[in-house]
Symmetry: C2
Subunit: 254 residues, 2 copies
């Protein structure tokens, strides 16, 4: 049975291009109060920083172990689920969580088997469309319609609290554990890296076949969004990848 500690360890909090070091520190503190220890910073404006350390309080060790990377793709490559916090409805939508507790239950269930991530954007401008395309789900925390703009570190606190609660209330596996385990393995989501690989193969194959000749039609984006929102399991993705390769190979034979 999966060791409980590693379930929490599979949850990553990712902050993208945070402007105020104080927010980074406050986010680290929020994480620490809820048993989350994996912080990843994508291109933080200033880090390390005294203000971050000061605001982190008891979460200072967490700050020191934070991973700093240059892109969101790099931050979440091995994650099976990536939830982007975003209030804005996008043109090509991802599956949405309407409530923090829905998100937390689903994320913690997956975290038993693979890394998962919660992604927070810039203080002023949130996440870009390209960053949302790196995600598997979107979450918009319900808030006062007249003023829904939570401070970044406070949004982290709310989400961390939901995740810790879902962790504490998780159900043990019932029934034939071995059979459930093997069924679960087959139905696991693929990692972001595997999904990105497929999306790239799809783009290349369609480009080579001359299908993407109308850039404004957003053909590729729509197709990629279809495959993303369909949430293929690891097994299904492997079949899709194989099928695509077979069709492309058939084009390369004499």
């Amino acid at each position: 049975m999966t060791e409980p500690r590693s379930t929490l360890d599979n949850v990553r909090i990712v902050l993208v291009q945070t402007w105020h070091p104080g927010n980074i520190g406050a986010a680290a503190r929020a994480m620490h109060t809820m048993g989350l220890e994996r912080l990843v910073l994508v291109n933080p404006r200033r880090f390390p920083d005294e203000e971050a350390t000061r605001m982190a309080a008891g979460g200072e060790a967490l700050l020191e172990q934070a991973r700093v990377v240059e892109s969101l793709e790099e931050a979440v490559a091995d994650c099976g689920a990536v939830v982007g916090l975003s209030a804005r409805l996008r043109n090509l939508a991802l599956p949405q969580f309407e409530e923090g507790d829905e998100m937390a239950r689903e994320l913690m269930a997956l975290a038993e088997d693979m890394p998962v991530a919660l992604v927070f954007g810039r203080e002023r401008s949130g996440l870009t469309n390209e960053e949302i395309a790196c995600c598997t789900h979107q979450l918009s925390l319900p808030a006062n319609p007249d003023y829904p703009i939570l401070n970044l570190s406070q949004a982290v606190q709310v989400c961390a609290h939901e995740l810790y609660r879902a962790f504490r209330h998780r159900q043990p596996v019932q029934g034939d554990a071995a059979r459930q385990e093997s069924r679960r393995q087959k139905d696991l989501p693929p990692s972001r890296e595997q999904m990105q690989h497929f999306q790239q193969s799809l783009a290349t194959a369609l480009e080579d076949a001359g299908f993407l000749n109308q850039p404004h039609a957003q053909t590729l984006e729509r197709l990629q969004n279809f495959y993303q929102r369909s949430s293929p399991t690891r097994k299904e993705l492997s079949l899709l990848q194989g099928a695509l390769r077979a069709l492309v190979d058939a084009a390369e034979k004499p």
Copy 2:
């Protein structure tokens, strides 16, 4: 605005290979009490029949207008949603409705724009796997675990009652009706015929590419099930069909 009468007219009740003519008649009566008038019979054992007419009571006219066809595919070719009533969990599962009212709300919403169908199987053996593959959803009516086997016409009565209730409680379109209308059109599901056409194209393309060389691996079934459960919109399906054709055409060029 869609005429209300035609919304109910878009709902088809499909009975597959019914053994007892009395059940056909009783089903027709059940439909008539709930405003449903479109009955389709796939290979009924005996029809027309005195017993059917007798049991139909006030629903006799409905019986006379019933369409008789030779296959389920033919019965539902133009339908945007096809819900199969089946208690059995299948190897490759379709999206499930857990309750009759969930099913009714979703079906009646779609029925504003396109034909939809509810499919009932044989009295003893229900629906075959091939018939389930013609469906978009499955519904299992929750019942006494010790004895969940509803009589066919009584299952029709329960479902008809749910559909009529959903029809009576439907919400009028709010806000900018024209914009919502155009958005809705793009997001409509494809007809079964369009979906079957894609599934067939997929099968042919993968066969020709030599990808289906391991019959026991159920590769094709799994891929078709993936596309089915992903519920592509009409627009997405048209892009998928185009992409597939482009890849196949690339294989046929010198």
